[in-house]
């Protein structure tokens, strides 16, 4: 197709080019028209403004001059100073207006000259009136009248001059207006020419295009009709056709050839297809069978996977139980640990108390021993006292013998010995009393000795008891120390048990998790197996469909072969 458009004038290109030129021309016409109107309206505006200004200035100028002449005339007839001052003031104003004229108007020498002439004429009128005024002041009324007459003539000339300026302005305005008119006409003509050219071009494009399209279209239509009737041998001649039609004709020729080739090939192919369809049908049946077997096997796999999942769940539950018990063990170990700590503390306290008790016991024993020693000392003292009393008793017996001898001698000595007899009696008595006292002492000492012996024996028993107590205390102390050490060891063991139990818990938890994921995986496997089973079943069904399709294909290919036989082709 691309080789057809290259180098050939296509209808599209022709139309595109034609319309582009047309649009350009119309845009050009629009721009020319717009510019002409804008330019024209600008010029018209400027001219009118200028004309308006000039007219206004002229009117003002004429008005001032009229008033001035009026004031001059009034002074001539009435001679009041106010009128003359007015005359002067208006004169200066008129000249001022003229000056602004000169500066605002066109710079053409002719126009400037016109306005200057007006100013000069005004000056002459003023001069004439000034002379007339002075003549009137001098009382020369006749001269003044003549001079005023001259001044009025000047006024007439001034008015004529003003009219000339206005006329010149009007003429200029008319000329300008004519020029504008001419410009407008020229621009209109140009515009019409451009539009006319555009229309002519459009006509040419339309005629040429319709001719270019009509001819080739008819031959293509003929070709298409032949094609529709099954005649694939018809061809259209392309030379001289425009680009698009040539492309279309070539495409149709090509299509005819291709169809021709395709149809002859199709008949052969239909046979092949029929054969292949038969093969395909049997192959797909085999596939369907084997797929059924696969589906069954996979179904079993799926069931196995499900029971595996159930077992895994049981194991999981068991592990959960273990973990709970391990938790309880951890708690128990912690209690034991705490208890052992308490026992240890208590035993330690008791041990220290026992130590103090033992110390007190030792003190008591030493005191008892000291007391026993003292008591032993008392026994010795009692023996000494007995010895002493024996001595005293002997003395008392001898004394008594002496007193008896004395009384025998006193009785011999008769009266002289009476006094002595009395003393002898008294000494006898004393010896007796001493004997009694000594007996008492012996008695008492014996009692004391008895008591001391008893006490000593009691003390010895006490000391033995104290020793027994000490021995028991020491044994108790040792037992307490053993308890403390045992509690310490218990505590350490409980801690070890607790941490081991915790580790167990963690391990069990990990095992539970792993087992969970294993279970999930197993579930996935079971599901997948079920899907595979289902897919295999579908495959089996598809194979069956394929088999039936192959059968249909076989039938279709036979029908096709029959149809192709009806077309006229190069092979036929």
């Amino acid at each position: 197709m691309s080789e057809a458009t290259a180098g050939t004038l296509t209808i599209r290109r022709l139309l595109g080019l034609g319309f582009a030129v047309l649009i350009l021309l119309l845009i050009l016409a629009g721009i020319v028209g717009w510019a002409a109107i804008a330019n024209l309206s600008g010029e018209v505006g400027a001219r009118f403004r200028h004309a308006n200004e000039v007219t206004q200035q002229s009117a003002r100028f004429s008005h001032v001059i009229t008033q001035q002449v009026q004031a001059a005339t009034t002074y001539l007839s009435e001679g009041d100073v106010a009128s003359e001052n007015e005359f002067r003031r208006l004169g200066l104003e008129a000249h001022g207006l003229h000056r602004s004229f000169t500066s605002q108007r066109s710079e053409l020498a002719g126009e400037v000259a016109n306005t200057v002439a007006v100013d000069n004429r005004l000056a002459e009128v003023e001069n004439a009136f000034a002379v007339a005024h002075r003549l009137r002041d001098l009382g020369r009324t006749e001269d003044a009248r003549i001079q005023a007459q001259k001044a009025r003539q000047g006024v007439q000339q001034l008015i004529a001059e003003l009219q000339r300026v206005d006329k010149a302005n009007n003429m200029a305005f008319v000329r300008a207006s004519d020029e504008l008119n001419e410009h407008a006409t020229k621009r209109s003509a140009l515009l019409i020419t451009v539009i006319g050219f555009a229309l002519a071009l459009a006509l040419v494009i339309v005629v040429r295009t319709s001719r270019e399209i009509g001819r080739p279209l008819r031959s293509l239509v003929r070709h298409a009709i032949q094609l529709s009737r099954g005649n694939l041998l018809n061809r259209t001649a392309t030379p001289g056709m425009p680009g698009e039609f040539r492309t279309l004709a070539e495409a149709m020729n090509h299509a005819s050839e291709s169809l021709s080739r395709v149809v002859s090939g199709a008949a052969e192919t239909a046979d092949d297809v029929a054969r292949s369809a038969g093969d395909l049908a049997s192959a797909s049946k085999q596939i369907a069978d084997s797929a059924g077997q696969v589906a069954e096997a996979v179904g079993e796999v799926s069931l196995g996977a499900e029971s595996q999942v159930q077992q895994l769940r049981k194991v999981n539950d068991a592990l959960e139980g273990i973990r709970a018990r391990a938790d309880a063990m951890v708690a128990g170990a912690s209690e034991v640990h705490a208890l052992a700590g308490a026992i240890e503390a208590e035993a330690e306290a008791k041990r220290s108390e026992m130590d103090r008790a033992l110390e007190i016991l030792l003190e008591v024993r030493s005191i008892v021993q000291k007391a026993a020693a003292e008591v032993s000392g008392l026994t010795a003292t009692a023996a000494e006292i007995n010895d002493f009393v024996v001595s005293v008793s002997r003395i008392a017996e001898q004394t008594n013998l002496l007193a008896l001898n004395a009384s025998i001698e006193a009785a011999r000595a008769g009266p002289a010995g009476r006094g002595f007899a009395v003393v002898a009696t008294e000494v006898a008595k004393l010896a007796e009393q001493t004997q009694t006292a000594a007996d008492d002492v012996v008695r008492l000492t014996e009692a004391v000795t008895t008591r001391v012996t008893t006490t000593s024996r009691a003390m010895e028993g006490s000391a033995a008891h104290v020793g027994e107590i000490e021995r028991v205390g020491r044994e108790l102390n040792g037992a307490l120390a053993t308890i403390v050490a045992a509690a310490e060891r218990t505590r350490q063991s409980a801690a070890t048990v607790s941490s081991s139990a915790q580790e167990n818990v963690r391990a069990v938890e990990g095992a539970v998790q792993n087992l969970g994921s294993v279970a999930r995986t197993a579930e996935g496997h079971a599901a997948a197996a079920m899907q595979v089973s289902a897919s295999t079943e579908q495959q089996s069904a598809a194979c069956e469909q394929m088999t039936s399709a192959s059968t249909q294909l076989l039938v279709g290919s036979r029908q096709l072969k029959g149809l192709v036989g009806g077309l006229r082709t190069a092979a036929a």
């Binding site: 002067r88 004169g91 200066l92 000249h95 000056r99 000169t102 500066s103 108007r105 710079e107 020498a109 400037v112 000259a113 016109n114 200057v116 002439a117 100013d119 000069n120 000056a123 002459e124 003023e126 001069n127 000034a130 002379v131 005024h133 002075r134 003549l135 002041d137 001098l138 020369r140 001269d143």
Partner: protein, 342 residues
Amino acid sequence: MTRRGIDLAVDEINRAGGIKGRALKIVPRDDEASGSKAATIAQEFVDDPKILAVIGHVNSGAMLAASRIYHGQLTAVATTASSPDLSGASPWVFRVISSDSLNGVILARFASRIGGDAAQMKHAAILYENDSYGRGLADAFRRAFRGTIVSFDPISENVEAEPFVSYLKMKQPGIVFVAGREGSALAILREARRQGLEAVFIGGDGWQGIVSDTAAANGAYVGTSFNAADRKAAVQRFVRAFERKYRIKPDAFAALAYDATRLLAEAIARKGNDRGAIREYLASLGSATAFDGVSGPVYFNKSGDPIGMGFHVAQVTGGTLVSGASGIAVPAPVEVAAAEHP
């Protein structure tokens, strides 16, 4: 006198080798002091590419009319056109004489002082030629005079003086100020002499030519921007050269024309054949770069009026203008002006 001033300057320039070897040429035209004529001539000058600048015009009304034509095209340096209306008329128009709005004030101050306290000298009559120059100068005088203005009359160039002089004789003003030129001035002075009018006559720079009538003009006061008796070497050299060439003393008209010519020759020498550059050069002159003219240093303000030139009052004594003869010379602080018939 204007033409003589120009010719003397051109002679001097060309004798010294011209402008860069080329002779300076003058294209003379007479505008007859008419605005219409001046406008036509201006158009001719603008259209002629060989013309680089214009010396003139002389008359205020003519200059005013022509300035519209020169605008944007050609530089013109007016010599004696002194009307206030010309100030700022166009950036292409300059003048070497100061504005009458200033000159009128200087003349009015002189007039206000000349009679001391005498009552009669506090009354002034004003006559003015009814054109741009006369109106401008008279109006400036009227505003600045300290006394009574008894009359303010317009006259023409060739005035019939009798009714005005008779009127003045009736009114008896101490001072008569005339804003006009030689023609009307002599008519009035002669008629006054004839009628025996006793008054101090004062004129503007337009009156400089009246010295030709020794009898009628004697004693009259004239405003001028040039003093031939100035001892400055350049002035004396000019006066001597002028006298040698024309056998008469130069007046302000000649001096201003001489200055304008030499100023434009200088501009052309610096900027060449470029009308725009010549205008730029004149506009760029300042107090430091002022052109040294015989009537004073020349440079311009934004309205094209000169700055720094002198204007004073001289008295006609025995046929010549004597500056300071009356003991009153008014130094002008800023500007100067005059206008003349060619």
